[in-house]
């Protein structure tokens, strides 16, 4: 049983959803980034989704684009990312860690070498933002060899053929998009695409995690009540880093409060 399966096993009977924060590694600096990750885990995060900074993150909105730039300014590179991941895993042995990357970073590192490295660090899943399931064979091949779960994104208007493929190949969880567009903060109500949830549940037991635009507790409650296994929240947390990166004390306090409230919203049964 992998870490995701163990996690869902502990949450699902209590009808609780999982809270997975998304962060860019090295934002705003390596040290603060590591502190923020510890803080999130101590204050409710059930899993982690961590992004390797990329120069051209075309699936991301302004907030995450800026996080990439801050990370670069702090001197991050792929080897330092791996070192950070190694330290995080050493400290937090049971938490599922998913990586988010863009295809070129993995291609350039060597697809085989990248998955091998992630396997050595004990990474649980890899999601590649600009890799549709149709182009994924050479990446999935090594994910399977090195026991890393591939994660694919299911768009809100996906047709049956693609839903079937995503359900077949996405083994850690299925990343369900709240809406079209890029990452960002939405304050409006996010309607979970129930028709899609039902279709996915008919063909797979893999948990469905929703992401994109999620920024408040009302949205989270509604999402979890619709039968989705959890949520990924990135921009709302990263916006705090952007606003308070020069005042660590306030930053830590704000992130702690936010994390506690987001986690609380995923609990249907307290």
């Amino acid at each position: 049983m992998n870490r995701y399966q163990k996690l869902y096993k502990t949450l699902i009977p209590f009808k609780n959803g999982c809270f997975i924060p998304f962060l860019i590694l090295g934002d705003p600096s390596i040290n603060i980034s590591l502190k923020i990750i510890d803080l999130l885990i101590e204050n409710g995060a059930d899993g982690l989704e961590l992004g390797i900074p990329f120069s051209d993150p075309l699936a991301d909105g302004k907030i995450i684009q800026n996080a990439n730039l801050r990370a670069f300014s702090s001197g991050i590179n792929i080897y330092k990312c791996f070192k950070m991941l190694y330290d995080i895993r050493k400290k937090h042995k049971n938490i599922p860690i998913g990586l988010l990357s863009y295809a070129n970073l993995i291609f350039k590192f060597g697809i085989k070498n990248f998955y091998l490295k992630c396997s050595d660090i004990d990474i649980d899943s890899i999601l590649i933002a600009d890799l549709p399931v149709e182009e994924s064979y050479s990446f999935r091949k090594y994910a399977k060899i090195y026991h890393i779960s591939p994660v694919f994104i299911c768009p809100p208007d996906a047709e049956q053929e693609i839903i079937t493929k995503i359900a077949r190949y996405s083994t850690g969880y299925i990343y369900l998009l709240s809406r079209s567009g890029v990452t960002g903060i939405d304050n409006k109500i996010i309607v979970p695409p129930l028709h899609l949830i039902n279709k996915l549940k008919k063909i797979t037991n893999v948990p469905i995690i929703q992401g994109f635009g999620i920024s408040n507790t009302k949205q989270i409650k509604k999402i979890v009540l619709s039968g989705i296994s959890g949520i990924i929240c990135g921009s709302i947390i990263i916006q705090l880093i952007e606003q308070h990166s020069h005042d660590e004390e306030i930053l830590i306090q704000k992130i702690k409060n936010l994390s506690l409230s987001l986690k609380k919203a995923t609990k249907i049964i307290e």
């Binding site: 120069s55 075309l58 699936a59 291609f107 350039k108 600009d130 208007d157 047709e159 079209s180 890029v182």
Partner: protein, 394 residues
């Protein structure tokens, strides 16, 4: 499953967020259907002839080659309506957008030529147009910004990254991933995810078809070489397309060496980059050892792009085409030469191609050779840039 092959050898593909795949499939299906549709072909052909002004002439340089045995012909895409070859393919894509019942057009532009072409085709066919343009390019191409606005397009400044074409392309894709239901992304070059490289090549292949017919009429033989500049590679693939199977014809693509390859301020991914995945395709790109995309450089905004269309990467890999690079300085010199000797002011983009033709001519003045240079656009837009360059060189 795609209807057409999405790869050129190992290059190409569709490396985009999953959400864009249905829009790409829809585009491919519409394209394949339209190519078989008599009405579509008739409408496009009529627009190319009566609106855009095709065929464009093939002009023999009367003075530039004096004292040599080289005959240089210019394929005059600068005389096309809009001032560049870009008009050919935007008319095709605008008709495809209409077929798909999309009412909005998203475009990106570097030098502004594709933006202008997008704006004019939208004005003509009643489509709403927004054009992403890097802030650096907006400053250096103000005349084209004004032209786009005059024709009703909204120009959206892009401040991220280097503020050039690369960043405008990213923003256009971001916009499309939100608005693909009602909007068509009118990609400006033979690059990006499938089916764009194939669509743009098809609509630009008219340049090659006309050139072949014209050179056979004028010279009764095929040329020794065809020379075209390469940014994304649309004018080059357009003129190369009719000659790819004619092995006696050398196909030469000219990339911008910018301030010099050794300065690292260049835009030459084919000759000095390596294989990677960027802007929806697997191709040759300029990247760091870790796979971060490098910023490119060229005095010509239209060539300032760190990647190249996948078919060029393939033609390079099988050695069917040769790719070389030319510096800003050499391009400006060619720009001046053509202006002075023939009374034709070429765009800075194709001044790179011309500079290489001049090199071929000067390296062996006695050699009997027929060279065709694709003059992909006119140079009015670049006059300020050239003036500043010359002033700073004094």
């Amino acid at each position: 499953m795609t209807l057409l092959n999405s790869y050129f050898g190992k290059f190409g593909g569709m490396y985009v967020p999953q959400i864009l795949m249905p829009a790409l499939y829809q585009l491919e299906k519409t394209f394949v259907f339209s190519l078989k549709d008599h009405q579509f072909k008739k409408e496009l052909s009529d627009l190319l002839k009566n609106y855009a002004g095709r065929p464009t002439p093939l002009t023999l340089c009367q003075n530039l080659t004096k004292g040599t045995n080289t005959r240089i012909y210019l394929k005059r895409e600068d005389l096309l309506h809009g001032g560049a070859h870009k008009t050919n393919q935007v008319l095709g894509q605008a008709l495809l957008a209409k077929q798909m019942k999309k009412k909005e057009i998203i475009a990106e532009t570097g030098a502004g030529q594709h933006g202008v072409a997008s704006a004019l085709s939208c004005a003509l066919l009643g489509l709403k147009c927004r054009v992403y343009m890097g802030i650096k390019d907006i400053k250096r191409q103000q005349q084209n910004v004004f032209r786009m606005k005059l024709m009703g397009a909204k120009v959206i400044p892009v401040t991220t990254g280097s503020g050039t074409l690369k960043d405008a392309c990213n923003e256009a894709l971001r916009d499309w991933s939100k608005n693909y239901i009602n909007a068509h992304y009118m990609l400006g070059t033979a690059a990006g995810p499938h089916p764009y490289p194939t669509i743009v090549k098809e609509f630009q292949s008219i340049i090659g078809k006309e050139t072949k017919k014209q050179i056979l009429t004028k010279e009764h033989c095929l040329p020794n070489a065809i020379i075209a500049c390469i940014g994304g590679g649309s004018n080059a693939i357009g003129i190369f397309s009719s000659f790819i199977t004619d092995n006696s014809v050398k196909l030469i693509g000219v990339e911008p060496a910018g301030k010099g390859i050794h300065t690292k301020k260049h835009g030459a991914p084919l000759t000095h980059g390596d294989t990677g995945i960027f802007f929806g395709m697997k191709t040759k790109i300029m990247q760091t050892e870790e796979g971060q995309i490098k910023e490119s450089w060229s005095i010509s905004a239209g060539l300032d792009f760190p990647a190249v269309g996948p078919e060029h990467a393939w033609l390079d890999s099988i050695k069917r085409a040769t790719y070389v690079s030319v510096t800003d300085h050499e391009a400006i010199h060619a720009f001046q030469c053509l202006s002075k000797s023939e009374g034709i002011i070429p765009a800075l983009e194709c001044s790179h191609a011309l500079a290489y033709a001049l090199k071929l001519m000067k390296s062996d003045p006695n050699k009997h050779q027929v060279l065709i240079v694709n003059i992909s656009g006119r140079g009015d837009k670049d006059i300020k840039t050239v003036k500043n360059f010359l002033k700073n060189s004094e």
